[in-house]
């Protein structure tokens, strides 16, 4: 078990290295820099700015010193916000994105799992069709259509929630519902498929023969095996929810890291872009690792290879 985790962690190092290197050189070879603006800056000031941020050094030198910085956990200063470090920006914005992500995941699981179980147990009944078509709708109506529609209906026509902003608890409802619904749909479909496979197995028949109640069979015996596909999906789902928050944060005007990332890419704020990419990549890799571990823990048939 520990060896497995250790081996996987070793694999992570080259991935990280590729990500950092690719992003670093990509942002540097881009036309336009952080200090290009409509007003022409006098060349002396430009030189001073570049010297201050180390941009006058040769590129490989900048690259190596950046690697050194990262090793110490320092993501450098922001180019656009004077006197703010990337670490500070991330510390201010990340909690918002994480909270949004957590609520969305909760919505996805609370809606998706029960619907999937019901659909599988009541297979080919009207209930199954209802659940399954809800799932299809969730997959085919993208967040950037669903979000505005929900805002229009619940925010403007019914006036239950604010259309945008991130202040009170009620502001969490619409964004989390929008982002969570898509993943609820996937989870519903995966749960249904997984449960159907498990419900046909012999040990379920045994449990039934021993007189276990239907509820107990579903919850105690079938569910553990039935949600395996869902567990495998959680890693990609977290990655999707993180990147999906770019759109949600734009629609609902939420001051999170996703919006910050897109804005900093537009304004060529190299260090913020790099820092965010590294952070996202790290989160995604850790989630994938956790997913693998949980999967093996739930399914004794899989061994840590």
């Amino acid at each position: 078990m520990l060896r497995f985790i250790f081996r996987r962690l070793l694999q992570v190092i080259p991935v990280f290295f590729v990500i950092i290197t690719a992003t670093f050189f990509m942002v540097r070879f881009v036309p336009g820099g952080p200090f290009t603006s409509e007003k022409a800056i006098p060349p002396e000031i430009m030189r001073n700015l570049e010297a201050h941020y180390g941009l006058d050094q040769p590129l490989w030198h900048q690259y190596l010193s950046y690697l050194g910085q990262i090793a110490h956990g320092d993501l450098g200063p922001s180019f656009k916000y004077a006197n703010r470090s990337v670490n500070e920006i991330i510390a201010a914005k990340l909690p918002v994105s994480l909270e949004l992500g957590a609520w969305s995941m909760l919505v996805a699981l609370v809606v998706g799992l029960p619907l999937g179980v019901v659909a599988a147990v009541k297979r080919n009944t009207i209930l199954d069709y209802l659940c399954s078509s809800t799932g299809m709708i969730g997959i085919c109506v993208p967040t950037f259509v669903l979000g505005p529609l929900l805002a229009l209906f619940f925010g403007i026509y019914l006036n239950w929630f604010n259309v945008s902003g991130w202040y009170g608890p009620s502001d969490r409802v619409l964004p989390a519902a929008t982002l969570g619904f898509v993943y609820a749909a996937y989870i519903m479909r995966l749960t249904r498929g997984g449960m159907l496979e498990v419900l046909n197995q012999d040990y379920i028949r045994t449990a039934r023969a021993k007189g276990a109640s239907e509820l107990r069979i579903v919850l105690r015996h079938a569910l553990r095996g039935g949600i395996l596909p869902v567990v495998a999906f959680l890693g990609p789902a977290v990655a999707g929810i993180l990147t999906g928050s770019f759109v949600i944060e734009t629609i609902f005007q939420i001051p999170g890291l996703g919006r910050e990332f897109v804005n900093s890419a537009f304004s060529r704020d190299y260090t913020v872009v790099l820092g965010t990419v590294i952070l996202y990549a790290g989160l995604i890799i850790v989630m994938n690792l956790l997913t693998d571990v949980v999967q093996v823990w739930l399914n004794p048939k899989l061994k840590f290879e």
Binding site: V18, I19, Y129, G135, M136, V141, F144, G193, I251, A265
Partner: protein, 301 residues
């Protein structure tokens, strides 16, 4: 039609007896025709494509034509889907947007298909250390947060359509490569490949003439399911303001514009949103139907 509404289950339909003598393709076609949702998806898709290709020629309006006397008109007989802030006819803009969205969907999928199939086939056929190295490379790329890279590419190198194809295509080939590889690995151990080899055929010929045609099922199914994923990604980028530039418009940009003005003029959001979702529905149902018809288990990686 019990399985029609439950497309995730890959339970195969019972094999149709008494059809000996028909080819595999005919068999699959027969099963597909019985799946009403899949057929409906196919028909809708065909109609939408024809409308997008032919429609703009027949319409009296142009996508770049402004008419400042007819701004923000609600849907009417003259402007079926209404007009926007500078008097563009929304119906014609949706048809033009469809050309872009469907075009990106098909072309980028084609790019992904080509790269993925060739890469996967070579890895699976050659095997050994080459295969291990090639698949390790795929694993590493798989772990990269690709949406983020596509966003960076589009921001930094300008919003041109060709780059969009390439960027999306480069993201989506990985799963295809894995699927094709695993197919080829199973197929290459079969006798007919040994026969082909003993006939002295070249490796290239064996791969393209003998192995790949036998892996068509999963390839077709996964292609159908890749197209909606690609279209979603394109619309996602457009929604963030990284898609095609006005006066051209894809469905993603139309949805973005509509979302900004939905309070007063909800039809600007509704029509593009509905058409886009309808297309995704059709593609997904068609893909699921094909999966059942071709009896491909788990097209997911």
């Amino acid at each position: 039609m019990s399985t029609s509404l439950s497309p995730l289950t890959t339970t195969a339909l019972p094999p149709v007896e008494g059809e000996r003598g028909t080819s595999l393709g005919k068999d699959a076609w027969h099963r597909l025709k019985k799946n009403r949702l899949a057929v409906a998806g196919g028909v809708i898709l065909l109609l939408l494509t024809i409308a997008c290709v032919v429609g703009p020629w027949l319409s009296p309006y142009k996508y770049y034509e402004m008419n400042l006397k007819e701004t923000f008109l609600a849907p009417s007989a003259k402007h079926w889907f209404g007009t926007d802030q500078i008097g563009h006819d929304l119906f014609i803009r949706i048809l033009y947007g469809g050309r872009i969205s469907l075009g990106v969907g098909f072309c980028a999928t084609f790019v992904a298909l080509t790269i993925g199939v060739v890469y996967g086939a070579v890895a699976g056929y050659v095997g050994g250390k080459t295969d291990a190295a090639m698949m390790r490379f795929v694993d590493i790329i798989y772990a990269l947060p690709f949406t983020i890279f596509v966003i960076l590419l589009m921001v930094f190198f300008g919003r041109n359509v060709v780059l969009l194809f390439v960027a999306i295509g480069a993201v989506e080939w990985l799963t295809m490569a894995r699927i094709v590889r695993s197919q080829i690995m199973t197929l290459k151990k079969m006798e007919f490949i040994e026969a082909a080899r003993s006939l002295g055929l070249s490796d290239v010929r064996i791969i393209f003439r003998h192995l790949l045609p036998n892996a068509f099922g999963p390839i077709i199914v996964y292609t159908t399911l890749t197209i909606p994923a690609v279209m979603l990604l394109e619309a996602f980028l457009s929604f963030l303001g990284l898609g095609v530039q006005p006066p051209m418009s894809s469905w993603g940009t139309l949805i973005k514009d509509g979302a900004e003005k939905m309070e007063e003029f909800p039809w600007l959001l509704l029509f593009p949103g509905v058409i886009f979702s309808l297309t995704l529905f059709s593609l997904n149902f068609l893909g699921d139907g094909l999966r059942d018809a071709l009896d491909v288990r788990a097209a997911k990686d």
